[in-house]
């Protein structure tokens, strides 16, 4: 069999190839750096991210397929790539000062962030179980190392170890699931699996059920769905704050990008059989995430549980699985990314060499010490709750709207009640910032100006507010992107 590369093949892999290439370049530059500032590597990485974003943007609307259909650069992939690149962009911006303060002098950090980003892009761009797996592994292995980046901090070490062990375990589930699906259908291409399931009565085949179950468990671990979420709080707390920021947004979005491909493009015909499982997982995930978040004193742990809860909302949109629901996943992915990145940027800005400020107590009176940062934090919290005029509201509104549209009324009710529960812990930060007098531990002086962090905060703030007031553009984009997936139905 001869295999010829054509332009489409090359173009379809261009965005993530660029990211990988810049990652390699950063590794190379690291060996030549010789004690000079790591800032240079950060700027190179940022340049790579921007370049990849430009290349990626060019592919919008082209629907390219490469390598016999195992890599696709359809609108779905392109739009998710925008989210991943945004995650990388913000992570690099907020890392510069953080790494300096925490004494991390390894330039590999930026390379690993880029590799992880590339891995996420592969996950969203493949229609092939194996390619998804490869992307996931690139992402996961990079994340394990990033988590342990604070080498002298035993919490960071513990987190990395925990993450690695459970991650490897989950990978096993995923692989077994993929093998079973392959065994049952004879193909690893999701579209072909989909057609097989549509024409033949494979629904009776037990391998399909095993495969699907194992895949859900595997993804459940990666997306920290309840009851597979145990690792999340410890890992988020132990990891360097910037890595937590990265992990709370990026791998989540990538996991959902791949899960949606698998469940809709591959197993969409079995929706009648899997929606109930997902329904239960979604309800459990959001409820447990929100309820346990109430008891946290550490903001990073609070955000870990909050990210679990948000995974629950997004999963609710997958249960619905119509265009509206799936585009809600994309919209929510971006909104959540922006809001979360903004919060982490503020946490990093408020910390300094001597002290990381990650507990609620540290932020007593912060709203008066630093009115603008306080206001930004307030807006991010309101967006995470889902209060109107922030992107968070439009995102949740769309999810619940889709759920009601398809008759999942009770799922919508569970969702809105959860939103009310979440008011408590998000507002707790607001209470601390504005309504409680400062104590000795709290930040008494305005944190020094830092360009990169200010840009990150301002950009995410602008994004959250813009998507809350004028969401139409991104709503169109997200519904166009998922209509590709639904084309087969």
């Amino acid at each position: 069999m001869t295999f010829q590369l054509n332009t489409n093949d090359m173009l379809s892999i261009l965005p993530f190839t660029l990211v990988f290439a810049v990652g390699m370049l950063v590794l190379l530059l690291e060996t030549l750096r010789k004690g000079k500032s790591m800032k240079m590597l950060a700027w190179v990485s940022l340049g790579g991210v921007v370049l990849a974003c430009v290349a990626n943007r060019q592919l919008l609307g082209q629907g390219l397929r490469g390598f016999g259909g195992s890599v696709v650069a359809d609108d779905y992939a392109v739009v998710f790539n925008i989210i991943f690149l945004a995650v990388a962009f913000f992570t690099i911006l907020i890392s510069m000062r953080y790494l300096e303060d925490r004494g991390i002098q390894d330039g590999e950090y930026y390379a690993l962030v880029l590799f992880a980003t590339g891995g996420m892009m592969v996950m969203a761009s493949s229609l092939d179980l194996l390619m998804i797996f490869v992307g996931l592994e690139i992402l996961s292995i990079s994340s394990y190392i990033l988590t342990g980046m604070l080498r002298r901090d035993h919490k960071s070490n513990e987190a990395a170890m925990k993450y690695f062990l459970l991650g490897a375990f989950a990978t096993g589930f995923l692989l077994y699931g993929m093998v079973m699906l392959y065994g049952a259908t004879g193909t690893i291409n999701l579209r072909e699996i989909g057609t097989h399931l549509a024409v033949t009565n494979l629904g009776q085949n037990p391998y399909i059920w095993f495969g699907m179950g194992l895949l859900i468990v595997g993804f459940g671990f990666k997306l920290s769905l309840v009851p597979f979420h145990m690792w999340t709080p410890d890992v988020y707390e132990g990891a360097p704050t910037t890595v937590t920021a990265f992990m709370s947004a990026g791998p989540k979005a990538a996991g959902f990008a791949a899960l949606v491909r698998v469940m809709v493009e591959g197993l969409g015909n079995l929706h009648d059989h899997w929606w109930l499982v997902m329904w239960i997982l979604a309800a459990l995930t959001m409820t447990l995430g929100n309820v346990v978040a109430i008891w946290q004193d550490n903001i990073k742990r609070m955000l870990a549980y909050s990210s679990i809860a948000h995974a629950g909302y997004i999963l609710a949109a997958l249960v619905v699985a119509n265009i509206e629901g799936l585009s809600a996943i994309v919209f929510y992915g971006l909104v959540y990314t922006l809001g979360n990145m903004g919060v982490f940027a503020i946490l990093v800005l408020a910390s300094d060499k001597n002290r990381e400020r990650v507990t609620f107590e540290d932020y007593r009176g912060f709203g008066y010490v630093s009115p603008l940062l306080g206001m930004a934090m307030l807006v991010f919290m309101l967006s995470l709750i889902g209060i109107p005029l922030t992107g968070g509201f439009v995102g949740k509104f769309q999810i619940f709207k889709a759920a009601v549209e398809q008759g999942y009324l009770w799922l919508a009710v569970v969702g809105v009640i959860n939103s009310v529960i979440s008011v408590y812990y998000y507002l707790r930060l607001v209470v601390v910032m504005y309504m409680q007098p400062p104590t000795g531990a709290s930040l008494q002086v305005r944190p020094p100006f830092n360009l990169a962090l200010t840009v990150a905060i301002a950009a995410s703030l602008a994004g959250v507010v813009y998507l809350g007031i004028l969401p139409s553009g991104w709503l169109d984009m997200s519904s166009r992107s998922v209509s590709v997936l639904m084309a087969g139905f």
Binding site: Y368, L382, I387, P388, L389, F393, F397, F400, K401, V404, E405, L409, A412, V413, V416, I417, S419, V420, V423, Y424, L427, V431, Y434, M435, P471, S472, L475, D476, S479
Partner: protein, 525 residues
């Protein structure tokens, strides 16, 4: 009919933002400067909103000064504003009370800038709620205005402010998210009926809704609004919020925020789901009467002036609900008028309590006595407001309560009789409080040197007292402005909406007969 070429309703809603921007970007400034900026902004907002009264043409009826622009086209969400007589009067009440609240909070020294920003943002949200005709837009304003109030209670409140502030937000949010689900459900009912997406209230008025769906949807809407009113048994957040809130917060909370609940019933829950409304009428009338009596009885034993006024709100808002659910002209007119009256009288009462609290830092009735001797002007004005709240003929409260009772008697004599006795209770608890505070000898040394009201505080109260007397003596202009909406509302709540109904044209409705309401108000003069 525009103001400098700008759409008038949007102008009124967003005008306070000018002050917010000035406060945000003018940097750190003296508290006095921030006060003046806020006062001038809110005063100008009031002046800008004043022409709405003249512009509303009651002969034409329906919603006027409509602004309609696509907002999220894919979802059929529009930026859609419009006003009828009821919302016009509520907007005027809002802009007036905000101005007076700022003037009344002149001595607020803690974080003055943030305080003024919160009040001005609150004004934006409140006016938006009253003018939005797109349900999505309404929900946006409805939720957004929660947070300025949350801050006002939580930052500038009393000892248990954190608890009270959170309780306020949690109650309201919990009830209103269920309304959100109901809104979405109604949205899809509309879609199935017509094949297009729309969030416009005037479109929703036109479609029929099955009986079962009406029950559920009405329940969800009614819960959200009942918490806001607040109706018994959803009132428990109110005493906490009122007692802990600073004076300006209490004034706006009682004067305007509670009206949002009754306004929601009037604008959304009842006309959208008329059969459910009629079937729920006995229950809601019952709850209203329980609220009226319960509020009045609790007032009898209140040792705290502010808490007394807070519980009297539960009782008075019960009258408003009773009037609305009588579903006849008199009841409705009375209920709507009572919304305004309660805003004016209770707003004034909270201002008065705030004035004495500022001097003595206590609200306990037992700490006072004989104030008549040291503060005669204060005592006189207090008396006028108390009498208005009791419902003395010649004052605004009488007109509203009388109409409500006349309306209620037609549907349920017992409800009217029991509620009428609460008017007597109101006289008992308010006058008893008045007697203990103002009559007798001065028993406490601290009270001997209290200074009477300066010009500023008299200026705060003067417009409210003027309104109390005006509405009491000559309510006709107000009732006339509301008459077309009242007639329209009665048509909508009495049609059979479970069937396909002839489309109601609301934006430019045909002139509605105003003869009946007019004769009613003439009778009262």
């Amino acid at each position: 009919m525009t103001f400098l070429g700008l759409p008038p309703l949007s102008l009124v809603i967003y005008f306070p933002l000018l002050g917010v921007l000035a406060l945000l970007f003018a940097g750190r400034m003296a508290p006095a400067a921030t006060r003046w900026i806020a006062l001038v902004t809110s005063g100008a907002t009031f002046l800008v909103s004043l022409p709405l009264y003249g512009w509303y043409d009651q002969a034409q009826g329906g919603f006027q000064l409509v602004e309609k622009v696509a907002w999220i086209p894919d979802w059929g969400v529009k930026y859609y504003l419009g006003m009828d007589g009821v919302s016009m009067l509520l907007v005027l009440l809002t802009t007036l009370l905000t101005f007076l609240a700022i003037l009344g909070a002149w001595n607020e020294e803690r974080h003055t800038r943030e305080f003024m920003i919160a009040i001005l943002l609150l004004e934006v949200g409140m006016n938006g709620v009253f003018l939005a005709l797109d349900v999505f837009l309404f929900y946006v304003f409805w939720e957004v205005m929660l947070f300025p109030m949350y801050f006002i209670i939580g930052i500038w409140g009393g000892e248990r402010r954190l608890y009270a502030a959170f309780k306020f937000v949690a109650y309201t949010m919990a009830a209103s998210v269920l309304m959100l689900v109901a809104i979405l459900y109604m949205y899809y009912l509309y879609f199935h009926a017509t094949g297009e997406f729309s969030m416009s209230l005037t479109d929703w008025y036109k479609v029929s809704v099955g009986l079962q769906a009406q029950y559920w949807l009405f329940a969800a809407f009614a819960l959200a609004f009942a918490v806001k009113v607040p109706m018994f048994p959803f009132h428990t957040w109110l005493p906490d919020a009122h007692v802990e809130a600073p004076t300006a917060g209490s004034v706006i909370l009682a004067g305007v925020l509670l009206k949002m609940g009754t306004y929601g019933f009037f604008r959304f829950a009842m006309p959208l789901f008329p059969q459910a409304t009629q079937d729920a009428m006995p229950v809601l009338i019952g709850l209203s009467v329980v609220g009226i009596m319960y509020g009045a009885l609790v007032c009898m034993v209140q040792p705290d002036m502010k808490k007394l006024v807070a519980y009297s709100s539960v009782s008075h808002m019960g009258f408003v609900m009773l009037g609305l659910f009588a579903l006849n002209t008199q009841g409705l007119q009375g209920g709507l008028l009572q919304m305004l009256n309660h805003g004016v009288s209770t707003g004034a009462l909270f201002l008065l309590v705030g004035m004495i609290y500022e001097r003595r830092h206590t609200k306990a009735i037992a700490d006072f006595g004989g104030l008549m001797k040291v503060m005669p002007i204060y005592a006189t004005l207090f008396l006028v407001v108390v009498l208005s709240s009791i419902g003395l003929p010649g004052m605004n409260g009488f007109v509203g309560e009388y109409l409500v009772l006349v309306g209620a008697y037609q549907v349920s004599p017992w409800a009217a009789i029991i509620s009428a006795s609460a008017v007597i209770l109101a006289a008992v608890y308010l006058l008893w409080m008045y007697q203990r505070v103002f009559f007798g000898q001065i028993t406490k040394v601290e009270n001997q040197k209290l200074h009477d009201l300066p010009l500023r505080e008299m200026a705060v109260l003067a417009p409210l007292i003027l309104l109390i007397l005006w509405v009491g003596v000559y309510p006709k202009p107000f009732l006339d402005k509301m008459a077309p909406s009242v007639a329209q509302f009665l048509v909508m709540t009495h049609q059979d909406k479970t069937q396909k109904s002839p489309a109601l044209s609301l934006e430019q409705a045909h002139p509605v007969s105003v003869s009946e309401p007019t004769s009613q108000s003439v009778e009262l003069q």
